[in-house]
C-alpha cells in the first residue's frame, strides 16, 4: 500500500482533468492549442486550483517531460531581489529546445515578493519574453505592482461551488474506501471554507482515525477554531477579562495553529448569534471588519486580534452600564 498526501495524489494532471474553473481552463486550453502563452497572473483564494492549473498547462504544453521546461519558484521561501537577479534571469535567458520555443516560469505565492524584487522581475519579464513566459500566482493581485499587472493576462480563480466541492471529496472518499458522512462533508466545508487543499488534508487526517468521518470527527481534528472555543473567547472578553481572553487567543494561535483569519471569520459568525442588542451587533461587525482588514495589512495576528478583544471588553462594559 502506498501513501502520499492525498492533495498531491488527487491533483489533476491535465487541463482535461480539471473539473472546476471552467472558463479559465478553456482559455488555457486555447493557449496550448496555439502553442503560445502570454505572461499570466493567477489570482484567487487558496485551494482553488491556481498552482494545479499552472502545472496542468505545463504538462499539456510540453508533455510528460514538462519538468525540463519549467521552473517553480516560491516567493515565500525565496523572496529577495537576488533570486530574481540570479535564478530567474539565468533560467529565463536560455532558449528552450523543442516544439515550444519558450519556457515557463511559475512564481508561486508571488504576493510575498518584495517590491524591489518585483521591480527587478519586471525588466526580466520584458527582456526575455521570447524565451520565457511567466505565471505569477497570488492570493491578491493588488499586491503585484502595476507595471507587472499591465504586462500579464489576469485570471481570477473563485471558490469551488458547493456541489463541485462535495462531488470531488465524495469521489476521493470513494477511491480511498472511506465512510464520509453527510454531516462530515458539511463540517469540512464549514471549516475549510471552500479551500480544496485544506479540505482534502482534513479528509486525510480524518481518515487516519479509522472511523466514519462525521462532523464530530472533523471538528475534533480541525480542533482548530472550534466554534465552542471561539464562543468562550467572546464570552470571556465581554465579561471584561482581557488578560484571560488574550491567553485563550494565544493558545488557539500558537498551540493549535489556528489562522487569524479563521478566528476572525468565526467571531464574525458568532457575534450575530450572541444575545446582545441588535444595534450593537452591527457596531461590532464594523470593528471586526476593520481588524480583518488590518490583519492583511499588518504583521502580527495576535496583536490585531487582541485589539479586537479589547473592543469586546469595552462593549461588554458599555452593555453592563446600560443595564
Amino acid at each position: 500500500m502506498s501513501f502520499e498526501m492525498w492533495a498531491e495524489k488527487y491533483r489533476p494532471k491535465t487541463l482535461d482533468d480539471m473539473v472546476n474553473q471552467k472558463e479559465i481552463v478553456e482559455r488555457l486550453k486555447s493557449f496550448v492549442k496555439s502553442r503560445n502563452v502570454p505572461h499570466c497572473i493567477f489570482a484567487g483564494p487558496p485551494g482553488t486550483g491556481k498552482t494545479t492549473a499552472a502545472l496542468c498547462l505545463a504538462r499539456d504544453l510540453y508533455g510528460d517531460a514538462y519538468r525540463e521546461h519549467i521552473m517553480e519558484l516560491n516567493a515565500s521561501d525565496e523572496r529577495g531581489i537576488d533570486v530574481v537577479r540570479e535564478t530567474v534571469k539565468t533560467f529565463a535567458r536560455v532558449r528552450s529546445i523543442g516544439e515550444v520555443p519558450f519556457k515557463l516560469m511559475i512564481l508561486d505565492e508571488a504576493d510575498n515578493m518584495t517590491s524591489d524584487a518585483q521591480q527587478a522581475l519586471r525588466r526580466t519579464m520584458e527582456r526575455f519574453t521570447e524565451t520565457c513566459r511567466f505565471i505569477l500566482i497570488c492570493n491578491y493581485s493588488g499586491k503585484i505592482i502595476e507595471p507587472i499587472q499591465s504586462r500579464c493576462a489576469p485570471f481570477r480563480f473563485t471558490f469551488l461551488p458547493r456541489e463541485e466541492h462535495d462531488k470531488h471529496l465524495k469521489w476521493i472518499a470513494n477511491q480511498e474506501k472511506l465512510d464520509l458522512k453527510d454531516d462530515g462533508l458539511e463540517a469540512i466545508f464549514e471549516v475549510c471554507a471552500g479551500d480544496m487543499r485544506r479540505a482534502i488534508n482534513t479528509l486525510q487526517a480524518a481518515a487516519s482515525l479509522n472511523k466514519p468521518v462525521t462532523a464530530e470527527v472533523v471538528y475534533s481534528i480541525a480542533g482548530r477554531a472550534n466554534p465552542a472555543d471561539v464562543r468562550r473567547l467572546i464570552e470571556t472578553a465581554m465579561k471584561g477579562k482581557f488578560v484571560e481572553a488574550r491567553k485563550q487567543l494565544r493558545d488557539m494561535i500558537q498551540k493549535y495553529g489556528v489562522a487569524g483569519s479563521d478566528i476572525i471569520r468565526q467571531i464574525h459568525t458568532e457575534i450575530f448569534k450572541t444575545d446582545i442588542p441588535e444595534r450593537w451587533k452591527i457596531i461590532l461587525a464594523d470593528v471586526v471588519g476593520e481588524i480583518d482588514y488590518r490583519l492583511v495589512e499588518g504583521s502580527d495576528e495576535e496583536i490585531q486580534l487582541s485589539a479586537l478583544i479589547a473592543r469586546l471588553v469595552e462593549t461588554g462594559h458599555e452593555l453592563r452600564k446600560a443595564g
Binding site: 502520499e4 488534508n201 487516519s208 488578560v243 487582541s306 479589547a310
Partner: protein, 422 residues
C-alpha cells in the same frame, strides 16, 4: 602591593596596538594616517574615529601614542564645553613637536557629549582648530553622522570602528584570566563575551564583578546574569511611555531603551492591560498597538524603513494618549513579555517545523513556510493516530527520525514508525 581593586578595564588596558582587540583594518588606516605626518602635513589634518561604545577607540589612540612615543594631549567632554574652552587649548595644536622634543597628538574624546545649547560654538571652534592644526588631531564619537558634525566631517578622515567578534572578546577575557590567575570555564567566558555584544569594556567589567577574588569561574557563576541590568532600564522606559503626558515625552523614551523596537513593542503589549485598566483606555491603547503593527507590516513589505517613525508614534504616543480614565496605579510591576519567553523556547521548534516544511515542499508544490503552517497540523494528527499511514508519508516525504518524533510527540510511536520504514 598593587591595588587589587583597580578597575580591570584600566589595569588590563592594551599598552600597545598589537594588544588591541579586533578592528585591524581601522587601526591600520589610522596608523598610516599618523605616519603620513612625518612626510608633511596631510590633506586631512584630523581623523574621526567612530563606532559603538566600549570597542577600543580611545584605547587605540592611547596605544598608538605609546608605540610611537608621542605626547598624547587628551580632552574629553568635560573639558570643552564652550567655544572659549576649546580655544584655550588651541595653542597646543599649533606645533607638531612638543616641549620635550617628541611628537604630539591631540585627542578630543566623547564628542557626542557636546550638547546643543551648553556647548554652543564648540563644534565650530574645533573645526577652526583643525583648519590650521600643525599636529594630528583625533576626534572620537559614537555617531559621526550626527548632523551637528556635518562640517566637521568634511575636514576629517573617517575611520569606522566595528564591534569585535565575540571570539575576539573571548580571547581578551582569557588573557585577563591568565594574568589574574583565574581558572575559567570556556562556557562562562563565552557567555560573558556573547552578552557584551561586542562591548569589550562592559565584558571586562562583568568579568571583574563575577570573578574578582575567585580562583575558579564556572558557567553557573555567570548564567544568572541574564538580562538583569537591561530590565531595570526597560522598566523606566515603560513607565515613561505609558504615563507620558505629551506625545513627545512618550516618543522620546524610545531612545532610552536599550532593546530594539520589536522587543520594546512586546514589552508595551504585555504590560498595557495592567496599567490601562479602564475598558475605554484599554481599547484605545490596543487600537494604537494594532495601528503600529499595521505600519510594521507596511514596512516589511515595502522595506521602507522611514515607516519606523509611525510605528513609534503609535506604540508610544498612541498608547499614552489613550490613557484618559485610568488612574496611575500605586505600584504595579512590569512583567517580562510572555510571548518572548514562548518564542525563544519555540525557536528550535520553529526551525524544525520549517525543515519539515522544506520536505513537504519538494513534493507538494507549495512554499516551505506555508507548508510548515498549513500542512503540518494535519500531519501531526495522522502521525499520532495512524502508524501505517504515517510510515507511508514519512517515506514519501523522506522525514528523518527527529521529525517523526516531533510529529508523534511520542517516542514509542516514532520507534514503531521508523521500524516499519526499514
Amino acid at each position: 602591593m598593587q591595588n587589587v581593586y583597580a578597575a580591570w578595564t584600566v589595569k588590563h588596558k592594551p599598552k600597545s596596538l598589537k594588544e588591541v582587540v579586533g578592528n585591524k583594518e581601522a587601526i591600520q588606516k589610522f596608523v598610516n594616517w599618523v605616519k603620513s605626518w612625518d612626510k608633511g602635513i596631510p590633506k586631512k589634518r584630523a581623523a574621526f574615529l567612530y563606532g559603538p561604545p566600549g570597542i577600543g577607540k580611545t584605547v587605540t589612540v592611547e596605544a598608538l601614542a605609546n608605540d610611537f612615543r608621542m605626547e598624547l594631549v587628551e580632552k574629553n567632554a568635560s573639558d570643552y564645553r564652550t567655544e572659549d574652552a576649546v580655544k584655550r587649548f588651541a595653542g597646543l595644536a599649533s606645533q607638531y613637536g612638543s616641549l620635550f622634543g617628541g611628537k604630539r597628538i591631540i585627542l578630543l574624546d566623547e564628542l557626542d557629549g557636546l550638547t546643543g545649547s551648553a556647548d554652543r560654538g564648540g563644534v565650530r571652534a574645533i573645526t577652526e582648530i583643525i583648519k590650521t592644526a600643525q599636529c594630528p588631531i583625533v576626534l572620537i564619537a559614537n555617531n559621526a553622522y550626527n548632523p551637528r558634525f556635518s562640517t566637521l566631517r568634511s575636514r576629517c578622515i573617517l575611520i569606522e570602528f566595528k564591534k569585535p567578534r565575540a571570539s575576539d572578546v573571548l580571547k581578551h577575557l582569557k588573557r585577563i584570566c591568565l594574568l589574574e590567575g583565574i581558572q575559567a570555564e570556556e562556557n562562562a567566558l563565552k557567555f560573558i563575551a556573547n552578552r557584551s555584544e561586542g562591548d569589550i569594556r562592559s565584558a571586562v567589567n562583568d568579568l571583574q564583578a563575577l570573578a574578582q577574588g575567585k580562583k575558579r569561574l564556572t558557567y553557573d557563576d555567570v548564567s544568572w546574569l541574564g538580562y538583569r541590568d537591561r530590565q531595570a532600564t526597560i522598566f523606566n522606559v515603560l513607565r515613561m511611555i505609558i504615563y507620558a503626558k505629551t506625545c513627545d515625552g512618550a516618543r522620546k523614551a524610545v531612545n532610552m531603551a536599550d532593546v530594539d523596537i520589536d522587543m520594546l513593542f512586546q514589552w508595551i503589549y504585555e504590560n498595557v492591560p495592567s496599567h490601562l485598566t479602564d475598558p475605554h483606555d484599554l481599547a484605545g491603547a490596543m487600537d494604537a498597538l494594532s495601528m503600529a503593527d499595521v505600519y510594521r507590516g507596511r514596512l516589511r513589505r515595502t522595506r521602507n524603513w522611514s515607516f519606523t517613525r509611525y510605528i513609534i508614534d503609535f506604540m508610544t504616543a498612541g498608547v499614552a494618549m489613550a490613557r484618559v480614565n485610568s488612574k496611575p496605579s500605586g505600584w504595579i510591576p512590569f512583567r517580562f513579555p510572555k510571548r518572548i519567553q514562548m518564542l525563544s523556547r519555540s525557536k528550535a521548534e520553529r526551525a524544525l517545523q520549517l525543515r519539515i516544511g522544506y520536505k513537504i515542499r519538494r513534493k507538494c508544490h507549495m512554499s516551505a513556510h506555508r507548508a510548515s503552517k498549513e500542512v503540518l497540523p494535519y500531519l501531526r494528527i495522522i502521525f499520532k493516530n495512524n502508524v501505517e499511514m504515517a510510515a507511508g508519508l514519512a517515506k514519501w516525504l523522506d522525514l528523518d527520525r527527529e521529525m517523526i518524533e516531533y510529529l508523534t510527540e511520542d517516542e514509542e510511536k516514532a520507534e514503531a514508525i521508523v521500524k516499519s520504514l526499514s
